[in-house]
């Protein structure tokens, strides 16, 4: 990796002041599980790295009023082990535990999971975020078995690797980001993930000099669950995931969310699938119907058509698990 200056300030104010307003000039270090690899791969060559390790206000989980607030540098292990999170948000626990490796659970952070870069193998092999050589899309013409089946009309064909994103969107979470001079912005989780229009953009709504500080999840008594289709049980990416959340009143579901992971450049809200649940009694047939609906509109590339079936299975199983929770 290229040499860089390292700063570990103790306040958000100092930290944001150390960040450049241009992508790539500075990078934020939390757990480092993605950043260090990216530095070694020369995907980024910042002149300064700002570590969040000494900023105590970014740590910990609190239940206050009608919300659970999760500090961005809370580790995935702390998140999955938290009493309130376990009680209210099993969808989040499954997603965090799914990361699989004890090392990553101990070091990787909640904010880092949301901000990590694409794992597209063309990107990681130096062909840019969109995996192009000249005007040719290597992804479209090459091996796209792990790529997007939704939201792939443009040049971005990678999938969002975030494990927590789909669950947070399903749970209607809000992300708090802090910019220069402690300027706070609240972003709905669903708006946080963005499909870049050019290969030099990033995959979230964060600005280069903003830090993701906190995740707020409202306590609404939603039944919720995540199902991940994964082959290897240790450290590995799932092939497709579904996070669902809904209310049950008088035996009928309402206010449903169905969000898919690993199938689009952003966590993919399956709006049509959510509608199938509204005002209905959840049983095996409805869960299957919801899975079918979630797969509608998929546009598989040459080698990832199998993900359509995985979406159906993941949604069906997540709905069933949430209803049983």
């Amino acid at each position: 990796m290229k040499s860089f200056e390292y700063a570990a300030p103790s306040t958000l104010k100092e930290a944001t002041a150390l960040l450049s307003d241009k992508w790539g000039e500075t990078e934020i270090l939390a757990g480092g599980t993605d950043l260090v690899t990216s530095l070694k791969q020369y995907l980024t060559t910042p002149s300064r790295i700002v570590s969040l390790r000494n900023i105590s206000e970014l740590k910990g989980i609190q239940t206050a009023g009608k919300a659970v607030r999760i500090g961005a540098t809370t580790t995935l292990g702390e998140l999955a082990g938290d009493k309130a999170v376990k009680e209210h948000f099993p969808a989040l626990v499954t997603a965090a535990e799914g990361v699989g490796s004890p090392q990553l659970l101990s070091v990787g952070t909640t904010g880092g999971d949301l901000c990590q870069r694409s794992r597209c193998w063309y990107f990681r092999n130096g062909f840019g975020l969109f995996g192009k050589e000249g005007s040719t899309s290597l992804v479209r013409e090459g091996d796209n078995r792990y790529h997007a089946i939704f939201g792939n009309d443009g040049e971005a064909l990678f999938v969002s690797p975030s494990s927590l994103g789909p669950a947070l969107i399903a749970l209607d979470a809000t992300l708090v980001v802090v910019g220069p001079k402690e300027k706070k912005r609240k972003i709905a989780a669903a708006e946080f993930f963005q499909t870049p229009k050019t290969a030099s953009e990033r995959e979230t709504a964060l600005k280069p000099n903003e830090i993701l500080a906190e995740i707020e999840i409202p306590l609404r008594g939603l039944k919720n669950a995540t199902y991940e289709v994964r082959h290897r049980h240790g450290l590995d990416w799932p092939y497709a995931t579904a996070s669902v959340a809904f209310e049950i009143k008088g035996g009928m579901a309402s206010n449903a969310r169905v969000v898919l992971g690993q199938v689009a450049p952003v966590p993919w809200s399956a709006v049509g699938a959510a509608k199938t649940l509204s005002g209905a009694k959840i049983d095996a047939a409805l869960a299957a119907k919801c899975g079918e609906a979630a797969s509608q509109g998929a546009k598989p590339l040459s080698k990832n058509g199998y993900k359509i079936q995985l979406v159906k299975a993941a949604v069906k199983r997540a709905v069933t698990a949430a209803a049983a929770a």
Binding site: K2, G126, R145, H231, R232, Y239, Y306, A313
Partner: protein, 720 residues
Amino acid sequence: MAKVDWPAADKRALIGKRISRADGPVKATGAAKYSYDVNRPGLLYAKLVWSPYARAEVVSVDTGPAAALPGVKAVWKDDTLIGKEVNFAGQILAAVAAQTEEIAAEAARRVKVEYKPLEHQVRDDDPALSQGNPDKREDGNVDDALAKAEVVVNGRYSIPVIAHCCLEPHGQVTEIRDGELYVWPSTQNVSGYADRSLAEATEIPQNKIHVDCQYMGGGFGSKFGVDKWGTIGAALSKQTGRPVKLMLDRDLELMIAGNRPSAHAAVKVGASKDGTLTAIDAEIWGTAGMGGTLPRDFPYIFTKIPNNRRVVKRIQAHRGSARAWRAPNHPQLCFLTMSALADMAAGLKMDELEFFLKNLQFVDPKMGGGRAPEVYAEELRIAADLIGYKQKAHPRGDPSSGPIKRGLGMALHTWGGQGHASECDVTISPDGSVEAKLGSQDLGTGARTCVGIVVAETLGLPLNGVKVEIGKNDYPKSGGSGGSTTIGGVSVSSRQAATAVLNELLAKVAPRLGVEPDALEARAGEIRVTADPGKKISWKEACATLGVMPVTKRGVNTPGESLNAGLISQGVGGVQMADVAVDIETGIVTINEMVAVQDCGLIIDLKTAESQVYGALIMGITYALFEEAVYDPKTGRMLNADMEFYRLAGIKDVGKLKVHMMTGKGYDDRGVIGLGEPPVISPGAAIANAVANAIGVRAPHLPLTPDRVLAVLQKGGATA
């Protein structure tokens, strides 16, 4: 040379018992230093510059910008490649040595290489891509036999190129002191490592090259030679006068330091209605990258099927060359043969176990068919009992409802495993301490422990009464650890050395006990009169009779002689069965259980032998379910040269493993035979057959990932 044999079963104090490996604690605590861990004073770190193109002309290489970076101490480039072609991605062109690993990596990026990219070809899935004349062999008349066969089954199968993926990558530390070269390589070949390429790279004669490899993190057939990185490291040490550590990064390790050839095949099998095989025919194609041997000895094990033919078509691809991968080419041939035969059993609507038992008549050890049919029959019955075959077996396609389908499958394998040439010195000191020394290596197999067991058994001592020194080429020469040849080699040489040195000791002790030396035996820490065990002296007292000088004797294993004497032999047979669950809604295959039944002659240490088999099952499950080198036809690059998408099984992925070693009469009396290769041969075939049995349709391409399983289910398999 002392005439030796193996002790009878009732006389064995250590041999054949379950004994924990002597170096287990130092490995578990991290105290054991692997080649990668060797740090010498003033150490420099080297990084390599390699071609990102699968094929290109190298126009120029400019190391100037790298040399200018502060901290860089030396640069090297391969002048022989300038103006020539590189023909696989990862081919090494230049190197740098620097004070830190980070500076070295940055400097390597600054080396300016000008390429003229040329057209490349990295695919292996189409026989039309093959070059040269097909390698054809036919026994009998296959076309005629297939035309007459009552049942004919066609299949198309494939097993991909995979890497060795050694946990410790290839590489070494080199240091030149006082005109002598010291090398700490990660190698399978301590005695033979210091070859002429190393001498030429440093202008240091071979007899002044000292090799030291105490612990190494896996080789599997890929770590015999010095390799280009070895000569580069030594050259950088020579240039700088400083020690240099050059270990491959994971990406290069996966691209260029291994590769098992792929095998695709179209297979036709003919049989009569009673289940007797009458013909088998295969067109096989695949790639060994830029060089290496393709699988060709088809059919596997069932070599005596009356009409058999195979045509092998070689595809040269711009990829790193193949190297011997644990049981070279056997896993591929086993997978192709056993898959086709299981499909025939299904075609006949015959129980798979019954079908294999019936057709053991076509297994002939004299025709390269492995072990005798009755050995396989016995092993099949044991495996069936262990896995609960009778209770669980069903015809192809699990009839139960629900998305999880269960199935059983099996496969048979063989390997040679004759011991290699080996020399060993055993020394007894007057204080009673004992040392065995040999230029062998322990790849994690337990070789170090087994040498200790043989010497301790011979001298009537506990295992910790023997110090075993291996891993240096200054010690008596011993063969490279490949082809399951180590245990046969080192057990005989150490047995001979220990016997010879004991004879010397007994000659000194005999007068004290008033008997002839051959009336004595060494047992339980004593030298005693065999016929009158009360007449004895302790080991320590006995050794004191040596006076002031230690006694050393050398043992030599000469394979031909040991074979004739029955100390070693070759040819083992094994059977494995798999019990799998397939989720037909997701295509996820899970291993419930694997059973391995294996013979390997006289077992020196039952525990490390079983460990070999457990390890092989894990490695086999890995290539059955996860492993595949993914090459991109457009860029010619390996897309998954990392441990993220080059997947290996973890502990939760392997299910329950049961190992049964064949011992006792008919097995122990064959002498010692190697075990490294055989148990890794069958898992791919057994698991693939179990998946077909579960879902009712053949998933013909390894690894058995969800996309491949779902693809065949959508064409018609089990339904929930």
